[in-house]
């Protein structure tokens, strides 16, 4: 069961009390020992900073002097910060275009690979490799060259007599190149889909064959409905992940989010505010907006899931 499933299950079992057997009553002490590092980390590295950034979001703070309380000013400033609005548009566009494409590619390939194919392990590895490398600076560098004015893509286009623009330096195309990079890493969701496909009992397909169902019918009536929980799971994960994209945009744009802010991801703008201008208060307010957005997207996913996700239990 995934982390998401565990959370959902916890919600369901709320109210049932753990009953302690005599031998287990002494576990409290042991638990403190085993959980000590985690508790400290939670307090100092996770929960503490989370609350601290909430406080800082109401202050003006540049690291040099003590934070000064300015109320909701940072949030008001966010309301009319055109670069911030632009970064939201850029990020949402990136998420809502590239994630569905990535998942569609992942599902399509998983379907093709599922049928007891010879050499499946090799194909799976080859298609998965980009997922491991995709987040690295090296690949971002490669992308910057491939989609550059004299890059690989334009060299290939030149072979057929076409002249391409400098993709990464053109405001209309730069974001597209990053989307392609995200789609290129479809291997990880593909593996989750493969695992999901394997869970569908063969007998469903056999029964439908007897009833004369064709491939399309089987896909629409058996595979898709039974796979919706996995599609959902992938969707939540990839949306959260894509919303945090940073490295690719940073390297491809040389840290600026250009050209013309067309690749200014939200995280990149947050970085610029916090660690270039050292405007820690504003960066903290942005951090909280990010948290709210991700929580809302996840909640929305869960909410809408009941209309299309099929649970067989």
């Amino acid at each position: 069961m995934s982390a998401l499933g565990e959370l959902a299950a916890l919600r369901k079992t709320k109210g049932t009390k753990d009953t302690l057997s005599p031998s287990e009553r002494g576990d409290n002490k042991a638990a403190i020992f085993f959980l000590a590092p985690w508790f400290i980390g939670l307090g100092l590295i996770t929960a503490g900073p989370l609350l601290a950034s909430l406080y800082l979001s109401f202050t003006d703070y540049s690291l040099l002097e003590a934070p000064s309380w300015i109320g909701v000013e940072n949030y008001l400033r966010m309301l009319d910060d055109p670069r911030l609005h632009n970064s939201l548009v850029v990020t949402f566009t990136y998420v809502f275009v590239s994630v569905p494409l990535q998942l569609a590619a992942a599902l399509a390939l998983a379907m093709v690979l599922d049928r007891g194919l010879r050499g499946l392990a090799i194909y799976r590895s080859v298609y998965y490799l980009p997922s491991l490398l995709g987040g690295s600076v090296a690949i971002a560098i490669l992308w910057r060259q491939i989609f550059g004015t004299n890059g690989l893509v334009n060299q290939v286009l030149a072979l057929v007599g076409l002249e391409g623009p400098g993709w990464v330096s053109h405001p209309d195309y730069a974001l597209g190149t990053l989307m392609i990079l995200n789609v290129w890493t479809f291997g990880a969701p593909m593996i989750i889909f493969l695992a999901g496909l394997r869970q569908i009992p063969e007998m469903y397909y056999e029964a439908s064959s007897i009833d004369g169902a064709g491939r399309v019918r089987k896909f629409v009536s058996i595979t898709l409905p039974l796979l919706t929980p996995i599609i959902f799971f992938n969707l939540v994960l990839q949306v959260i992940g894509a919303f945090q994209a940073f490295t690719q945009a940073f390297v491809v744009s040389g840290g600026g989010g250009g050209p013309a802010d067309s690749t200014l991801f939200y995280t990149l703008y947050l970085y610029q505010n916090g660690f270039r201008s050292f405007d820690m208060g504003y960066a903290s307010a942005m951090a909280w907006l990010l948290l709210v957005i991700i929580a809302a997207l996840t909640a929305a996913n869960f909410f809408f899931s009941k209309y299309w996700v099929f649970y067989n239990d």
């Binding site: 959902a8 409290n28 085993f34 799976r124 394997r198 970085y271």
Partner: protein, 340 residues
């Protein structure tokens, strides 16, 4: 939800029928097989072979003439698709041994002229030889791997085996912390570490791992521990073993696959990590591979793509090696938990 495992046949007892990773791993949030495998998402205890994942015995292959042609076409399609996907990588490799001028003219994979000087030039292009940055990255990776292995397995044991006050709540907090983006807490973390004077040391990158902040791996190991039969620790308990002993002598040795998965993913994530290294390491002496590469881009511009590519290739080699030797665990890890 947590007690159901008792009745579950352990992965150990399962006949080695398909042995694929996916077999034992309900993949999604609510797998259809959830009821059957209770400790859902357990990694199988015995090491299973990666190759047998095709499950040839389970699926019938029709072998009439027409479908043979179709199968050939399918393979041809899949191979070409794989080739297209990997082309950029292969081209980067081949460009790294081409003279600079050719990188902008030659889209083919076979270099017409060989020029290995890119590697020597790139190696020495920055303030320190590239080995310096490789070493920095390795130190951080090593610390992170050890940190995650220790701290996450300890916490996982508590969540999987100990009954303690408020466990469901703490468990829920742990699960939610998996989804917390680092960007939300990076500012206060930076302030904290700068007050500790840890900026430009490796501590901000390693110490959090010692404190189990990669909660994702706690979850992974909880899943695994739940699949280990409780009879084992109960027997040990009767023999007078305490929790520490059970943990070190029974759970950890049996959890090797989960530990391997953790180590591999920590390696890859830390090696690729750019955001936090960029923020915490600003002194060129402390640069890691990604930060150094990025400086390289800024300092050289278009003039030396060859050496830039050469060092990019060097930076990818460790990941590629981990990928080659750790595939089995990678695939299992993703299928269980949905990580990249």
């Amino acid at each position: 939800m947590t007690e159901r495992q008792d009745a579950v046949s352990t992965p150990r007892d399962e006949p080695a029928r398909d042995a694929s990773v996916t077999e034992a791993l309900p993949p999604g949030p609510q797998s259809q097989a959830g009821a059957a495998s209770g400790g859902a998402g357990d990694l199988p205890v015995p090491a299973v072979t990666f190759g047998s994942a095709d499950g040839p015995a389970l699926r019938k292959r029709r072998r009439s003439g027409g479908s043979k042609v179709r199968s050939l076409l399918k393979h041809a399609g899949l191979i070409s698709f794989g080739f297209v996907m990997l082309y950029p990588l292969l081209w980067m490799l081949s460009s790294s041994i081409k003279p600079n001028a050719l990188i902008f003219r030659d889209p083919s994979l076979l270099p017409t002229e060989l020029d290995l000087s890119n590697y020597t030039v790139g190696w020495n292009a920055l303030l320190h030889p590239f080995s310096h940055y490789l070493m920095n990255s390795f130190i951080i990776v090593l610390g992170s791997v050890l940190g995650n292995l220790m701290s996450c397995s300890l916490a996982a044991y508590a969540f999987a085996r100990l009954k303690f006050k408020g466990r469901p709540i703490w468990f829920a907090i742990m699960l939610m912390s998996i989804m917390l983006p680092i960007h939300v807490v990076i500012v206060p973390q930076y302030i904290l570490f700068s007050q500790l004077e840890w900026i430009n040391t490796f501590l901000p990158l390693i110490v959090p791992k010692l404190l189990a902040t990669d909660a994702f791996f706690i979850f992974l190991m909880v899943q695994f521990f739940r699949g280990i039969p409780k009879e084992l620790d109960e027997a040990a308990r009767i023999d007078g073993a305490g929790h520490a002993r059970i943990f070190f002598r029974i759970m950890l040795p049996l959890a090797t696959p989960a530990l391997a998965t953790t180590a591999i993913f920590t390696f890859i994530w830390t090696w690729n990590d750019f955001f936090s290294q960029l923020i915490f390491l600003t002194n060129p002496d402390m640069y890691t591979v990604p930060v150094a590469l990025r400086t390289f881009v800024d300092s050289t511009g278009e003039s030396s793509w060859g050496s830039l590519f050469a060092m990019s290739i060097v930076s990818l080699i460790p990941i590629f090696l981990v990928f080659l030797f750790g595939q089995k665990y990678l695939v299992k890890g993703i299928a269980t938990t949905g990580i990249k």
